[in-house]
Structures are given as structure tokens and as C-alpha cells.
């Protein structure tokens, strides 16, 4: 939470207020400015922050191990259970799945973001 908040906050602060003022004076209301100017400009920063948090959360164990219920086991907890049972083959497979999932997500975000940033800046 704090990390995500700090990063998003920085993103919003980096958007010059004049970009919003320019929209207001031309006739756009606050909500429209948020939707059409602020949000698109903040998008890449927000997604990057989400990506950062996703990587941290998917391998997080310390809080999950206390909070999980049998019906809401997350991957890191399952891995821990398997280790207790000594099933190292399954651990290896699940570990690879987790790795693939993370890589896929990051690659996807990079691809989408990369295009977006190129489109806006080039």
C-alpha cells in the first residue's frame, strides 16, 4: 500500500498543473479533465507501480502464511506446505509456473507500455 501510494502520488505530481488548467479554461469540467487528460498521462506511471507491487506480492509469504484459510491458499503458501511434505518435484514445477507467470505479466506490461510511451513521446 505505502509503496503503491507513494509511486502513484509521484506520478500525479509530475503532471504539470497547467495541462489541467488548459483544459478547464477551454470548457472541460473537473471530471472530464480527470478522464481525458490526467488519467491518460498518469497511466504509464500507475501501471509501472502496479507491476512493481505485483512482483512483490506474488512471492510474498510472511503475511500470507498467517492470514490464509484452507480455501484461499496462495501460491507461496502452497509452496511452503509442499516443502513441509518434502515434495520437491512439485515445488520445482510450481516454482517454474510462478516464474513464468511473473515474466509473462511483466513482458506484457512492458509491451503495452512501451508502445504507449513511444506513441506519446516520439
Amino acid at each position: 500500500m505505502p509503496v503503491g501510494y507513494a509511486q502513484s502520488d509521484a506520478t500525479f505530481r509530475s503532471i504539470p498543473a497547467e495541462l489541467e488548467d488548459a483544459g478547464r479554461i477551454l470548457g472541460a469540467g473537473r471530471l472530464r479533465i480527470l478522464r481525458e487528460i490526467t488519467a491518460p498521462l498518469a497511466k504509464s506511471g500507475i501501471i509501472a507501480a502496479w507491476c512493481f507491487i505485483f512482483i512483490g506480492v506474488i512471492r510474498e509469504l510472511s503475511a500470507s502464511i498467517i492470514l490464509f484459510t484452507p480455501s484461499t491458499k496462495v501460491m507461496s503458501v502452497v509452496l511452503f506446505d509442499l516443502k513441509e511434505e518434502g515434495q520437491f518435484g512439485a515445488i520445482a514445477v510450481l516454482g517454474l509456473v510462478m516464474l513464468a507467470l511473473t515474466f509473462a505479466t511483466v513482458t506484457l506490461v512492458q509491451a503495452v507500455l512501451g508502445r504507449d510511451v513511444l506513441g506519446a513521446r516520439e
Binding site: 495541462l19 488548459a22 478547464r24 479554461i25 477551454l26 469540467g29 506519446a120 513521446r121
Partner: protein
Amino acid sequence: MPGVSLKGLTRRYGDVAAVQDLSLDVKPGELVALLGPSGCGKTTTLRLIAGFLTPEAGEIWVGDRCLSSPVAVVPPERRRMAMIFQSYALWPHMTVAQNVTYGLRFKRGLSRAERERRVGEMLRVVQLAGYEARYPGELSGGQQQRVAVARALVVEPEILLLDEPLSNLDANLREEMRFEIRRLHEAFGITTLYVTHDQAEAMVISDRIAVLQQGRVLQVGTADELFLEPRTRFVAEFIGKTNLIDGVAVAPDTVACGGLRLRVASAGLEPGARVAVSIRPHQIELVVPPGQGAGAAGTNELRGTVQRASFLGDSVDYQVQVAASDVVLRVAAPTSRRLRPGETVGLRIDPAACVPLADAAE
């Protein structure tokens, strides 16, 4: 086409009054420059007019609409104004065409085809036809500026506000854009307020100039009026170069400074009062040899010694020590006759060129 009327505006930041009891009338279709050094409150004034700030006292009227008062402020989007920012504030995620079209989307009863037609026409006016699909990041500074101009003018605003729009351009382009903005103003006739700290820019572009200092309007007038008849020391020094002489009035139309007696362009001075006199360097005539010929009756005839001469290309800048006083006058003289340091010269100054100022030195 309405005018703008500012009545006793005040706005503070913390304890500091950025704008203080500021009043100004802009006539319909007029271009008025707000001129002053940084921190004089000119940008705050513009933001008050745009509705981004609420005044603590005073009112803003456009035509017969009261747009701002301490109790009620019409939001910026309903003021029918447009603004051009110092940073241009173009949206980087939109193309040139999208940037320019944006304001038109809030005008009712405009078909898509009509919007496109107006945007195309406006881009031709600012000489950017063919750039519709570019992003702002792909344009040069001057082109970005023209997009900002197009975006503001295409909505046909009642009032146009410009906040130092030329200060990010290089010197050549800036000069070109001055005339460009003046041309567009003459073509569209929109009531315009133009904030700048550059006196030459204000003189070229505006119908009238309001000189601001510490949140107050010191003097409003055409460039000529401010240059030839400054009322205060600040205005005299800010608009062009000048000589300031601090003295004491000895007669209703005469000021003394040491052994120097100057007849000035006023007959209403109170003897004994401290007075500062402003004399423009180019309004002093050098007479060589001293005493030759004769000026009109009542002309100030002084003598002095050239201390320094600097050749400036189109004129020579002399520093002349006036005899029997510690006054050093700067004189801008034609290059046809060159004087050397140490030479004695006569100085002839028309009393009309000696402007007494309201605020003498403390």
C-alpha cells in the same frame, strides 16, 4: 465583444499580498499588456481573471457579467475565455489536431464536419497545415507555440489571456512571433490581456500597457505615454533607459540639484519639495563648442565634461559630468560627430523632456 473590468482585486499568499487593490479597465477589442518584473503579481492577476484563483476582495466583470467576487466565482470552464501558457501546456498524448479540437467539443451545435473544418482553417492561419497527425513532442518550440495559439483562438473566446507566451523562444523567433500575435489580434479583435516582463515586447504588441509593481498598477498608458511621461521613478526606469536626477523644487517649474537648475515640464511643483526628474538620454542635445547657437527661450543650457564615450553602432553613449554638480548624465548622440573623453560640451535640454516624478527618493 465585451471588455474586462477589474475592481479593487486583492489576493494574498500567506502574509504577502500578490495583488493589492488592483483596478484596471480593458476596453472591448483592446490588447493590454501587464508589464512588471517577476513577482509583481501579473501572473496572479491573470489567474484571477481566468478563474483559477478566488479574490479575497474586489470583483472581475466581463461585459455585464460579474465573474469573480470573494463570495462567488464562475469556474474557468464557463468563462468563455482562452489562455496561452508560458509552457504552452499542450497535451503530449494528443495529436496536434486533437489538441486544437479539444475546446470545440464543448461548443453545442457544432457538427463533426464543422469542427474539422474550423480546425483545418485555424491550422492554416498559424501555418501548421499538414501537421495534424503529429504529436507535440515532434514539433519545435515555435511550432508548439503556434499550436497553443490555434487551440486558444479556434474556440472564438470572448477574452484571450496570454502568460509570457514568448519567453521560451529564442530571440529571433520571439521577435517574429511578436508581430505574429499582433497580426492575429488585429485579425480577430479579441479583448486580450498579455502578461510579460519584457518592455520591448509589451511596446510592440499592446494598445496600452499597465505597469505593475508589488501587486498594484502604477501607471496605464500607451507605450508613448509611458515613455515620454512616466509618473513614477519605477516606470521611468522600467520603460527604456533614463537619467534620474534627485533634487529640490525651488520654483513651481524649476528643480535644483547642487548648482544645477533645471526647468521641468510642470508648473505645479511645491517649492521645497523633493523631486526626482527623468530625462531620456536621446532627448539631450550635445552642443559643441559649448554655447554655440541658441536654443528656444527657456531651454536648459548646461555645461559638462565627457567622461566616457561608448560606440554602440547606431548611436554613441556618452557619460557627461555636469559642471558645478555631481550629476552624471547619459546622452545618446548620433554617430556623425565623435567626442573624446575630457572634451567640454554644452548640453541643451528642452524643459518638456525633463519629467518630474511623483515619488522622489526617500
